[in-house]
Amino acid sequence: MIDHAKNAFEFNKDKDHVDWHNQALWHVRIKRDQARDQVEDWEVLREKASLIKDHTLNNLHDYLLEFEKKAQANGWKIHWAADAKSHNQIVFDILQDNHIESVLKSKSMLTEECGLNDYLEKKGIKITDTDLGERIVQLLKKPPSHIVLPAVHLKKKQISDLFHHHYQSDQFNEDPVYLAGIARQELRNYFIRTKAAISGVNFALADSGSIVVCTNEGNADMGIHHANVYVACMGIEKVIPGKWELGVLLKLLARSATGQSITAYTSHLVKPPPGKEYHLILVDNGRTNILADKRYKEVLKCIRCGACINTCPVYRRSGGYSYGYTIPGPIGSVLAPLRRMNNYYTLPYASSLCGSCTDICPVKINLHEMLYKLRSDAVENRCLSLSKKIMLKLLDKILYYNFLYHTAGFLARKMLYLLPRFLLYNKLNSWGISRELPDVPAITFKKWYKENIING
């Protein structure tokens, strides 16, 4: 079971690091605001994107079949995977059929979701992440801490030490250009030698049977174009009707993600060149269950820009690993409990319900309202700890029944007034660890009203 509050407590032991992490991500949020301001009809665009995604999800069956037909006509080999296990098996079979022992991967949150790296390595296939951030966390044997900025939790010094250890780079040289150069040289060797590539998918276009991959480093393209065998992995919610819709979504994606007007590379992969194999795996892995639940269906509109993560005041101060799920932040706090409530029930509580995530979302997912609803699901699934449950049950009785309300209120105010500090401020009072309790007024509003207005 993931205990977000406990993980956040651990992360906050290093206050300087928390401040730095918070500011690094806030900087991305500011860049996003600036990029937003370049687009005159930003709010109209968000509305359009939201409608496009709603429409597609409402007709997902048809769009998927249309996409499959067109893609097959283009020469793609299409595979359908019901779950993570089946997805991994399909990837393995493709690699094995082609006698491949080493494969390059460009960032795909779906393969993280499916645990592909571990699976392939256990089967004896070497898998190398080629995005700089992903490569860094892979060398550390860790998952990404953010869906767009996988190594955002690390400082330059940590990366310098890591590269010195693995790549014999100059010790103590923390120059980002130098370090990126080292990674580039190392990865070039892989690009030249490796004959198979895997990537994620940002959009799949039903009308043309092609896919779009958005990257900044060019590594996805380098891997794909050099490989003989290419495997694209996508969740079934990534399909959109066509190019017009793509235009709307692309205008929002990079701006929301990093504040760029567009990613450095927007690659349209249409058909395999002669002599090469293009495979595409369409993965469900729980998505149709979410689609069937009208309360949470719209979470599938997500285009994985990460804006809700960057803006989230909790994420910025608790770090990606505190969520214990592939996707952190508000969007992860919705997706994770939908997958396994009893393991992730604390995540919907890792929010002050401030609503910044909902206002920033380029496809207008009502994220904080879903977190609110998921809390009820957590209670109904009996996930809450006994102490929290007792506290809430007691609160319910006190706040509802007039007699209990007045008695408890009276006692609380007396206690606050009379009790010595050590009895008020102790382990049982987590409010009081860093905060003072309020001063006690002489009378309640109700008493004032009775004395001064009714009898006054």
Binding site: V18, Y349, S352, K388, L395, G409, R413, P438
Partner: protein, 244 residues
């Protein structure tokens, strides 16, 4: 016009002066105000903690007590948001009149219904506004920084009419202060960290008072400020508007 006053539980018990200010302010403007004595809480603290089902009885009682009024006024953005947003979900399958459409947050009521253009209050201090999230993004009492819309703030529009008051703007003004109801105890570490940063940001500008629509958020910040021995004072916006 007959107004039913809803005074949230924590205001009744710990901040009666806020309720008194609201009552007096409305009375001064010759509005008929009534306070139903059988009220306790709107159920929001429970609903926000996952006890939505248990919170239904609060909504039903609220509806019974308040549906006879023309308007329901409450000095808390957070409670009003619960009434307006979640009550309709609770009453979805019932054919009852819902108070959701007549319930207003205090500032919202003054700004949008009474359309006040003269407040007649004096408050000669440097004041920063804490725009609490539920009022901001839920009730749209101000423009939120995520959206590309023209800047507005209903709080500021009213405070600008107060004589002597100097409004102080803060950086990242609409970032959450970290209160969040039970969030403040369930996620104590993050809640405190957010609150301390908020105070640091506000303190840079030498303010005398921090005000806002939700005394609960202010209670959290005040608790931190006191522990840190900061010379900051906290006051609900109704108290300023009623100050003369």
């Amino acid at each position: 016009m007959k107004v039913g006053l809803f005074i949230p539980c924590y205001i009744d018990q710990f901040y009666p002066q806020v309720g008194i200010a609201v009552f007096q302010f409305l009375k001064k403007r010759h509005i008929e105000v009534d306070y139903p004595l059988a009220q306790t809480c709107c159920g929001q603290p429970l609903a926000n903690s996952g006890m939505a089902r248990e919170s239904e009885k609060y909504a039903n009682r609220f509806n019974e007590l308040f549906s006879k009024y023309d308007y329901v006024v409450c000095p808390s953005g957070s409670c009003v948001l619960h009434v307006r947003k979640h009550f309709p979900q609770i009453f979805e399958n019932q054919k009852t009149f819902s108070v959701a459409s007549i319930t207003y947050e205090f500032v919202e009521f003054l700004h949008d219904i009474l359309k006040l253009d003269s407040i007649e209050a004096t408050f000669p201090y440097r004041v920063a506004v804490l725009q609490s999230c539920h009022g901001l993004r839920g009730l749209r009492l101000a423009s939120s920084s995520e959206l590309k819309i023209t800047y507005f703030s209903k709080n500021e529009n009213l405070l600008k009419q107060v004589e002597g008051l100097k409004l102080i703007q803060n950086e990242n003004a609409d970032e959450c202060c970290g209160f969040g109801g039970t969030f403040s105890v369930f996620e104590e570490t993050i809640s405190v960290q957010m609150g301390l940063e908020k105070l640091k940001m506000i303190q840079k500008n030498h303010v005398d008072f921090i005000t806002g629509n939700d005394i609960s958020c202010l209670m959290h910040l005040e608790g931190l400020a006191k522990r840190e021995n900061l010379k900051l004072k906290f006051i609900h916006i109704a108290e300023i508007l009623n100050f003369s």
